[in-house]
């Protein structure tokens, strides 16, 4: 009779699973043993956190869950950050953890941890498999749950004795899962929402990450074009619309673009799609609601009214709801709000004009991004770490193809960039992948660079190297009277030697031309590259900046630049 793990491996192959990520260990050896005679390829990461971030990115690219397999105890607990990250950013994945044999449960056995108890609040669902005949049904259920409605991570804990037990095929049962039906959108609410939008003076659309998961990019653009409505995004929403569309103003919020902040400030009706109204985007919830009517579309009913109580809350799939709205827009409607849109775009133009005139010796972060963007193909996938380089990317990285910008938005996990780039490259080997990273973030997961040569994963890593944890330093300068502590790295490793150690070409460019040439060569030759870009930490402040909890109008602009974010063109705000 086959062991439970043999049946699982067989079922995974039947389901089309041809690869898993992970690290082997004592309590998960039976599962890996079951893979021995299969066609399932194992990608051995150098830390479990790397494996799970890679799975997270793989899920975002393919929209299907990658399976991460690790051992019990530290192997399992090393997944915790990655589970929380995937949960916050609604990313599908399956984590299989080994566990001590059931006879040792609760006895503090070697490498025993209650990973089910640990991970419950940060996963979409968990299974503790105590009967060998439940292992295959648990995996099938986990697969479905991870992509059902709003995606998320599912964990399956598998004691070693359960993995090894023999199972009769006839003993396998289905696990009943109470699936969540996405309700049909309420037509009367949609009509009311549309009426609000059509009667609005300055309607805007706030796009969140849910638009990507729903595949609603075209519907977002169509509705915005019909009504002549500017589009503002959250950080995850940046990934869902092409940044070069004339109605897209970019991300708003703490490190958002001024034209996007201005759009929110002056809007009288906001159509929010697939967003939870993060404090990072909205700043101050009370001010955000004041004088504005909010329409909130979300597939997750618990998001409606969670942070911002809307005038109209519509539970449903974004694509379905927006399609219905588009069908109801009067055919004879003329494009409106052109003056408002022109004014918003004038903010962008004046900011870019200012920026281009500011003298800057060495590498300016925004200009580094412009150079990288010129060289990377439009369909290239970009990942980021977390820190000032991520905020610069939020401000200045242009996403041309929706779905190609992968960042840790909700949890803000430093170290996400490298493993995410590896996961994206495994998902799409034919597409160039760039990780925009910081020296702090890079050092948190850089050991996973070993996979670049082992599995031929030629990613490009651009390190914004300011030898400090810049975003915190920024806060210390601006909010803590310049009391700088515990942020500066006085001794950093030589990243060129790190590159060499992993068999990767390393470049420390001295000017933009060298930067451009080295990246272009790596893209052309499909070769991995690590670029160490020296950034001056005394000047690398990510501005504009809205301090935490403040309203968007309280934005701190760069020195020597000011625009009025209140629209006065048609008398509003006077």
């Amino acid at each position: 009779m086959p062991r439970a793990v043999d049946l699982l491996a067989r079922e995974m192959e039947r389901m089309g699973v041809d690869k898993v990520f992970g690290i082997i260990g004592g309590q998960i050896m039976p599962f890996f043993d079951a893979l021995y005679n299969t066609n399932i390829k194992v990608y051995m990461f150098r830390h479990e956190q790397g494996a799970i971030h890679a799975a997270d990115a793989y899920g975002r690219v393919t929209r299907r869950p990658m399976t991460v397999v690790v051992t019990s105890g530290p192997g399992a607990t090393n997944l915790v950050t990655g589970l929380a990250n995937a949960m916050m950013d609604s990313s599908p994945l399956i984590a299989i953890t080994g566990q001590v044999p059931t006879v040792f449960f609760g006895r503090d056995a070697f490498q025993e941890t209650d990973i089910v108890g640990t991970s419950m609040p940060i996963t979409k669902h968990t299974f503790m498999v105590k009967k060998p005949e439940d292992l295959v049904p648990a995996y099938k259920a986990a697969y479905e749950i991870s992509i059902d409605g709003r995606p998320g991570p599912v964990l399956i804990d598998t004691p070693r004795d359960v993995q090894l037990s023999e199972v009769r095929n006839s003993g396998i049962r289905e696990l009943r899962v109470y699936r969540k039906i996405v309700p049909e959108p309420d037509l009367s609410l949609i009509s009311y929402a549309l009426k609000l939008l059509l009667n609005a003076e300055r309607p805007i659309m706030l796009v969140g990450g849910g638009v990507c998961w729903s595949g609603a990019t075209n519907e977002v653009l169509t509705l915005a074009e019909l009504i002549g409505m500017p589009i503002v995004t959250t950080l995850p929403g940046k990934n869902c619309v092409p940044g070069n569309h004339p109605l897209v103003m970019g991300p708003a919020g703490m490190h958002g673009r001024l034209e996007a902040d201005a759009a929110l400030i002056n809007a009288d009706v906001i159509l929010a799609v697939g967003t939870r109204f993060s404090d990072r985007t909205v700043g101050n919830f009370n001010e955000f609601r004041r004088g504005r009517k909010i329409i909130h579309i979300d597939i997750d009913r618990s998001e409606i009214g969670k942070n911002v109580k809307p005038e109209v809350g519509i539970v449903g799939d974004a694509k379905a709801v927006l399609s219905m709205m588009i069908g109801m827009v009067p055919k004879a409607l003329e494009r409106r709000h052109d003056d408002f849109i022109r004014w918003l775009r004038s903010i962008k133009e004046s900011y870019e004009e200012y920026r281009s005139k500011v003298p800057f010796e060495g590498f300016a972060p925004w200009r580094v991004l412009k150079v990288l963007r010129e060289v990377m193909p439009p369909h290239a996938i970009t990942t980021t770490g977390v820190g000032s380089h991520q905020m610069w990317s939020e401000l200045h990285w242009d996403v041309y193809v929706p779905g190609t910008f992968i960042t840790s938005a909700g949890l803000g996990t430093m170290g996400f960039g490298i493993p995410a780039a590896l996961g994206a490259k495994i998902a799409r080997p034919d597409v160039p992948v760039l990780d925009i990273d910081g020296d702090g973030s890079f050092q948190m997961t850089m050991q996973n660079l070993a996979l670049v040569r082992e599995y031929n994963l030629p990613i490009i890593v651009a390190i914004f190297d300011n030898s400090t944890l810049m975003l915190v330093r920024h806060w210390q300068v601006m909010l803590y009277s310049r009391r700088i502590i515990a942020v500066d790295f006085n001794v950093n490793p030589d990243f060129m030697k790190i590159a060499e150690a992993y068999g990767i070409e390393g470049v420390r460019p001295s000017n933009y031309d060298e930067l451009r040439a080295s990246v272009a060569r790596a893209v052309r030759n499909n070769e991995p590259l690590i670029i160490d870009i020296t950034i001056d930490r005394e000047r690398d402040f990510v501005l504009p900046f809205v301090p935490s909890g403040k309203w968007l109008e309280e934005v701190i602009m760069p020195e020597g630049f000011h625009v009025n974010l209140r629209y006065v063109g048609d008398g509003y705000g006077k």
Binding site: H125, V177, K180, I181, P183, R301, G305
Partner: protein
């Protein structure tokens, strides 16, 4: 101290696989809600788990907690009602929100 009104929450969950896990999952949600729990009874003697709670809080918060509970994959049904006004019941389940 949590302000608001008194409500009862009736939660029905699957008793099929590791039923205590389902209960802990529910408790993890409830403990993050801005509501105070005055009384709780968990009955696991049947083919389903029945959790009855008396809580105090703003109705928006009670509804939010119920919406989160309804997302759990072991939740069969969740409903809440004001304790003073038993007739005004809101039933949630299977993606529908039925006002009675």
């Amino acid at each position: 101290m949590v302000m608001g009104s008194d409500f009862s929450i009736e939660l029905t969950m699957s008793n099929e696989v590791n039923p205590l896990d389902a209960v802990v999952r529910a408790m993890n949600i409830i403990r993050r809600g801005k509501i105070a729990i005055n009384h709780i009874v968990i009955d696991m003697s049947d083919s389903v788990i029945r959790i009855s709670m008396a809580v105090r809080g703003e109705e928006d918060e009670v509804r939010w907690v119920c919406n989160k509970l309804d997302k759990l994959y072991d939740t069969v049904n969740v409903k809440y009602m004001p304790i003073e006004l038993q007739a005004n019941m809101v039933v949630m389940g299977n993606g529908k929100n039925i006002q009675r």
